[in-house]
Amino acid sequence: MKFLMGIGEGFREIRAHKFRSFLTMLGVVLGVASLLAMFALTEGIATGYREVMSQMGGLERVKVRVEPVPAHQESIRELSPGRTYKDALALRMNAPLLSWVSPELDLYLAVRRGDKAETFEVIGIEEDYLHTERHNLEYGRFLTDIDRRDHNRVCVIGRGVIERLWEDPEAVPLGESVRIGNEFFRIVGIFQRYESERDKKKRELRAKEAPPAQGPGAKTGKRSRWSTFRFKNDVVVVPITTFTTVFKNTKQAGTPDEGAELKLDDLNVQVADLNMFEEALAQIRQILMVTHRGIEDFSVETRQEMFDEMNAAMRNLHMSFGIIAGISLLVGGIGIMNIMLASISERIREIGIRRAVGARSGDIFGQIVIESTVLAALGGVAGLGAALLLMKLLVAISPVQNRPVVHMSAVIMSLTFAVGVGVLAGLYPAWRAAKLSPIEALRYE
């Protein structure tokens, strides 16, 4: 009851000094606005990061790498056949903790369509590739075991290939043929376009303004930027069997003899259950130790470290932005304290009157704290509005930035901070008001 009265008093005080209260609140408004905008912006950046991470195959993707033979096994190095196609078969048959095993061969080859030619990464793959790389097919079909069995000259291409070799980046050239190296391949499928939110917006903006520039000039500019998405878009995949028959000889020319077994350029697997991650890694190692006859010329590379680093970077970003926003909120709090001090010295007589009719010093204390909290809370709510405006403004000025993401938790946290600042800022003035002696307060002119 008294609490509600206190809130009412708080509003009455604010109404009585509108301009002063507005100026005081401004500090909190800006503090909360910057705090919330900071939360939303870093969350937007984090979302962008997570997009990239997930496009790269997520944490489940594990790569088997070729390593130099350790020194103590140097004399028996010939025993190991290296990372071969048989490794893939062995893993697929014997590692139940893996859901997909993707052996890959690759070459950078000229891809021609009419008089246009561009170099792309051409990968010989099996069906598992679709899953380990998290590809999505937009048109047509993916490569099948029949393609593999019959060594079919078919390929699935990424959107990046179309963007560079076709006039219309949105073309759907299913059934058309392209020349890869010296052989013609029929396009049977097209992957979707992979892009970040930010690139998507950029592209949409460009599409609105002018038709996208084509030709070699525009390409170089586009290609110069590294991005996970570009690697994923600029890709041509063919059946691994076709790859060996058509291209492998080309590859072997001028490279060391690789022995009888088909050596792989890449071997990626996907762990079925992240809770069994370590066990899955052990399983991979065990099986490969057998196929490599005990020679440790391989390693298992995980994304763990990379993910940890990204997360740490996000945490740091949060922290440093948070501290900056916190400081501005603190400044707002000092403003409130200042005004509350001014307000009580102008209301000493009122405090005396209240004491005379029976207010305990605790009642006075509570009243001042509630008033300052009401002030800060109002500022906080206004700050929320200001933050939303601020973010709209940011998006309007720079539409390709990562879209700010406002979480409810960030809103609650910002408001809590504002209220907390109000309470803290009220404590000292409240203590000063509460310890006034009633007589002196009454006599005060």
Partner: protein
């Protein structure tokens, strides 16, 4: 048993080396229903006595009992409760809160005794009616005349049904005609059974009361 009892009360202020004996051994009893005036020239200690009676200040030495509470040994919150429940103050300068309207001013003591909103309202209306200001309940103090302000203050003093009404120079800020009406109001309250203690330096005002307590140099004479 008397309503108020003071025994050998001393109040000593120290200003550096100088010792000021504002009250120097005051013993006093006020009974239920009495109308007493505390008179004395300025500097005689009557304001200090008033503060002690009103539980606004503590004695240096001695014993003070109000109703059944030993206020000479009570803590701050106990004093506040005693002020709230047993004492109604009327000040020379009215001491109304300028931002509250008449009714809210009168309700103020009830806020601190935790009375519900509805009951506050009805009791405040009753008190405002008793001082004849029922038609001004929603005015702010600055829209009222001095006499009306003092009536509001009296209503505020009455609203919690205190055992005693303490008035400190209640007519000091008013012209003599208005002062007259306020004094009439006090007499009426006294006749209705309220205990009233009135502090004044004005012998004419003091003459209103049935009992005169004269104080000089911190002593009752």
């Amino acid at each position: 048993m008397s309503l108020i009892e003071l025994r050998d009360v001393r109040k000593i202020y120290r200003l550096g080396e100088i010792e000021i004996r504002a009250l120097d051994g005051v013993s006093l009893e006020i009974h239920e229903g009495e109308y007493a005036a505390i008179v004395g020239p300025s500097g005689s200690g009557k304001s200090t006595l008033m503060h002690i009676l009103g539980c606004l200040d503590r004695v240096t030495e001695g014993y003070v009992r109000i109703d059944d509470v030993d206020v000479s040994r009570a803590g701050g919150d106990r004093l506040a409760r005693t002020r709230n429940e047993k004492i109604g103050f009327v000040f020379q300068s009215f001491n109304l809160l300028p931002r509250l309207n008449v009714l809210e001013n009168v309700e103020l003591p009830l806020v601190y005794s935790g009375v519900s909103r509805a009951e506050r309202r009805s009791r405040a209306l009753e008190a405002v009616g008793a001082v004849g200001l029922s038609d001004r309940t929603h005015n702010k103090p600055n829209q009222l005349s001095g006499g009306q302000c003092q009536r509001v203050a009296i209503a505020r003093a009455l609203v919690n049904n205190p055992r005693i009404i303490l008035a400190d120079e209640p007519t000091g800020a008013l012209d003599s005609k208005t002062g007259r009406t306020i004094l009439d109001l006090f007499r009426e309250l006294s006749q209705r059974g309220h205990t009233v203690a009135l502090v004044t330096h004005d012998a004419n005002v003091a003459a209103e009361a049935r009992r005169q307590i004269v104080i000089r140099d911190g002593k009752i004479v």
